[in-house]
């Protein structure tokens, strides 16, 4: 069968994912670019007997060598040579969007432009003549409204047609004479090198003039695993392409470059001149295809007058955050209970069948108290996770999250954090794993490391769930709310302290930066949001029958053997007695210590572990927490909550930290930091409590 490979590029937020999702449906694979922490998505579409492989490249503003995402995108276009490149362009923001398109046209002529967001552009009174744009740029331009699925068939058709045709004579951007002259001299120098045979000479010359560090590096494509037609629709780590640095070719041209630098044309002047010339060209062609029909009312400006107002901005932000947490915790509670009840019902059913088959009591207990109780306690958090991420992605896709980052940036700045750290920290409240992955958008590696290491201090939804169950048991009524607020305050104070401390530890001396687009408000597409939220929920679900099942069974075994002895003489009890020494200064008994150790697999299991150790039916979180009240004082419980909130988040987070930081040393540092910090703060709480005469 004939196969066409099409790459998707575009600025961030132009609707690329919407186009990709609509064209590929569920035939998708998500993974990483091997060796780089940038997401790689590819999928298949079928059309008229053709198999079309779509590769969704990261959204970028440019193709420089300054960020991983930009390098990957440009490498893919130049080295893997897709049959066609689909450039999605935001019609409402066409001026800046064309800047990327111009850079693309210098790399390949096999381009089709998808002119998206036409509805939005029209509503702001902008009219764009697609045929004029197409005539000037010499590539097909297809009008689409991705969110409504309009024009996508035509877009795909045009891309396939370009994919099948030979390379066209592409547009070459007319630069001012003084630049044109330098390009030609550089072309002369480069034209007999090996690289010039593989890459467009003009592009090579321009990049050389800009002194792009990646030019001249030769990479070898190692493994190319084709996308399967019916691969696991979600979450398989498609290790698609991997590059190895083979050799670095020393490009000629140093003489010319230093001569130019002497004449006042150093790297900075060159970069500025080329950016300037491209924008000049855009301004020159703009009036031909773009006109302002009427000065239409701009919804974004109207909303921003409230949303970003110095007076109303913060109350609105607080309101939205409060609402988001209220919906994901309180409103979802009945759903969680339903899951718990379903699980215990199922457990009874299975145990009933086992009784019928007269299977020994031990096995029945394993199934009921080990497997179902453990997994059930975790599954009860699934509705919360799912709802949190639906809301999170809704806020992100609508454009509100960027506004929240704008309002919250003063705080980030105070902590010396990059403005984009905000997104990472917020999504950590859902789950630390995507929070840490969200640091990928930070360009500076040290900024990134600091943000990665802070993330675990933010209590995720499941942790907050366990905390609120314990709080409700020990501190009834209004007191409980106060306790939770105080715990969250402690975590925020520690985030602040740690940000400042870790910047030192990591040796970050660069001033952090924040340059961020505030996109127009969009009504998000449900398909996008549900797909993204599903990926997060699924990875959480997957943990339930892997890590958590295993951990529950182990806890059950440790606490049930040797058989017939009291709990504190079981293996778990023995283990606990070794750990008691560490827990004593904090007033923790052996059960708590065992639960803390097992909480490492996944913190959600802590409740069910305690349930097993306290010997209560472990299917309702309330009953477990209530069992704890007989064994602990209020101060003890509060100390437990503090330590529980802060110590190493869970195995998945540690693994993610390692993957994203690429450093065993910093991962170990992070783990040690969390452990020490949690016990130190716990100890302070105990001492402070005693001083105040509490017990």
């Amino acid at each position: 069968m004939d196969k066409v490979r099409i790459a998707l590029i575009g600025n961030p937020n132009v609707g690329k994912s919407t186009v990709f999702n609509a064209l590929t449906g569920s035939n998708q694979q998500t993974g990483n670019w091997a060796g780089k922490t940038v997401e790689r998505r590819s999928g298949l579409a079928h059309k008229e007997g053709l198999v079309i492989e779509l590769v969704d490249l990261p959204g970028t503003y440019s193709f420089t060598a300054y960020s991983q995402e930009e390098v990957i995108t440009r490498d893919y276009i130049l080295r893997d040579k897709p049959d066609a490149v689909l450039a999605i362009v935001d019609a409402a923001n066409i001026e800046r969007n064309l800047y990327l398109v111009l850079q693309l046209l210098e790399m390949t002529s096999k381009v089709v432009i998808g002119l998206n967001m036409l509805d939005l552009a029209r509503s702001t009174g902008v009219d764009i003549k697609a045929h004029e744009l197409s005539r000037i740029l010499r590539v097909p331009v297809v009008e689409i409204v991705a969110a409504k699925g309009q024009g996508l068939d035509k877009l795909l058709q045009a891309a396939v047609k370009v994919g099948h045709s030979d390379a066209l004579k592409s547009l070459s951007i007319p630069y001012p004479p003084e630049l044109e002259e330098k390009i030609q001299r550089m072309e002369e120098v480069l034209k007999n090198t090996g690289l010039a045979k593989r890459y467009p000479l003009r592009w090579l010359a321009i990049k050389r003039l800009e002194q792009d560090p990646e030019i001249g590096q030769e990479w070898e494509v190692r493994a190319v695993v084709p996308v399967q037609a019916h691969a696991d629709a979600c979450c398989s780590t498609g290790n698609a392409v991997s590059y190895d640095l083979k050799s670095t070719e020393d490009l000629p041209g140093d003489v010319l470059l230093s001569e130019l630098a002497q004449a006042g044309w150093g790297q900075e002047e060159m970069e500025m001149a080329f950016a300037d010339a491209k924008y000049q060209y855009i301004n020159q062609i703009l009036p031909v295809f773009k006109s302002q029909v009427h000065s239409g009312l701009n919804l974004t400006e109207k909303l921003d007058q409230w949303v970003l107002s110095p007076i109303w901005g913060y109350p609105i932000l607080t309101g939205i955050v409060f609402l988001a947490f209220w919906v994901s915790f309180i409103l979802s509670a009945p759903l969680g209970d339903l899951v718990s009840q379903g699980m215990s019902g199922l457990a009874e059913l299975v145990v009933g069948v086992m009784q019928g088959l007269s299977i020994p009591e031990v096995w029945q207990s394993l199934v009921r108290d080990g497997m179902f109780a453990g997994v059930g306690a975790v599954l009860a958090f699934v509705p919360q996770i799912a709802i949190f991420f639906v809301l999170y992605y809704f806020l992100q896709d609508s454009g509100y999250l960027a506004r929240a980052a704008f309002l919250g940036d003063r705080f980030m700045q105070m902590l010396g954090l990059h403005g984009k750290s905000f997104f990472s920290l917020i999504s950590s409240y859902g789950c630390n794993v995507p929070g840490i992955m969200a640091t990928r958008t930070l360009e500076d590696p040290k900024d990134r490391l600091v943000t990665i290491l802070i993330n675990p201090l933010i209590p995720c939804v499941p942790r907050l769930g366990v905390m609120s169950a314990v709080t409700a048991a020990f501190f009834p009524g209004g007191q409980g709310a106060l306790v939770l607020v105080s715990l969250l305050t402690i975590s925020i104070l520690l985030v602040m302290f740690s940000a400042l401390f870790l910047r030192r530890a990591v040796g970050q001396t660069e001033r952090s930066a924040f340059v961020m687009e505030l996109p127009l408000y969009h009504l998000p597409t449900w398909r996008n949001i549900l797909q993204l939220a599903w990926v997060r929920t699924y990875s959480f679900l997957k943990r339930a029958w892997t890590f958590i099942l295993a951990a529950s069974v182990i806890v059950w075994v440790l606490s049930s053997f040797p058989q017939g002895v009291p709990m504190n003489e079981s293996w778990a009890g023995t283990m606990g007695s070794w750990l008691e020494g560490i827990g004593r200064p904090l007033g923790f008994d052996w059960r708590i210590m065992v639960a803390i150790v097992f909480g490492f697999t996944a913190k959600e299991t802590t409740l069910s572990t305690l349930g097993i150790l306290y010997g209560v039916a472990a299917n309702a979180s309330q009953s477990i927490a209530r069992a704890m009240t007989t064994a602990m004082t209020g101060l003890g419980a509060y100390t437990f909550l503090v330590v529980y909130m802060l110590y190493i988040p869970c195995l998945a987070t540690v693994v993610t930290t390692y993957k994203e930081s690429g450093s065993l040393r910093w991962t170990a540092f992070g783990v040690a930091y969390n452990l020490l910090l949690s016990f130190a703060v716990g100890w302070l709480v105990v001492q402070g409590g005693h001083l105040l005469g509490l017990h």
Binding site: Y61, S62, T64, Y66, S67, A92, N93, I94, E95, R96, Y99, E268, E271, M272, A275, D276, Y279, T300, D304, L308, P310, G313, A402, A405, F406, L407, D409, R410, Q413, G419, E443, D444, R511, A513, F514, V515, M516, E517, L518, P519, L520
Partner: protein, 76 residues
């Protein structure tokens, strides 16, 4: 030198040049902040927070320290 920091909310200015070097400067260039372009200061977040600009028909947020790197000629 007049920088973008000196431009009052609601005012427009024309970019004269960008100080600094490296990735941050390049990012500003790529976002369309090149000499000659007109910027409008839309609003400033309170307590020394970032500044919202409008240029080339879109909105951009930047910290004040970044704005101080952009030399401008003011225009009313």
């Amino acid at each position: 030198m007049t920088t973008l920091m000196d431009v009052k909310t609601g005012r427009k200015a024309v970019v004269a040049g960008i100080e600094g070097s490296g990735a941050l400067r390049r990012r500003m260039l790529d976002m369309g902040i090149v000499p000659g372009v007109e910027l409008e200061v839309m609003r400033q977040a309170p307590w020394g927070g970032p500044i919202q600009l409008r240029l080339r028909g879109y909105y951009l947020a930047m910290r004040r320290s970044e704005c101080a790197q952009i030399a401008v000629a003011e225009r009313i």
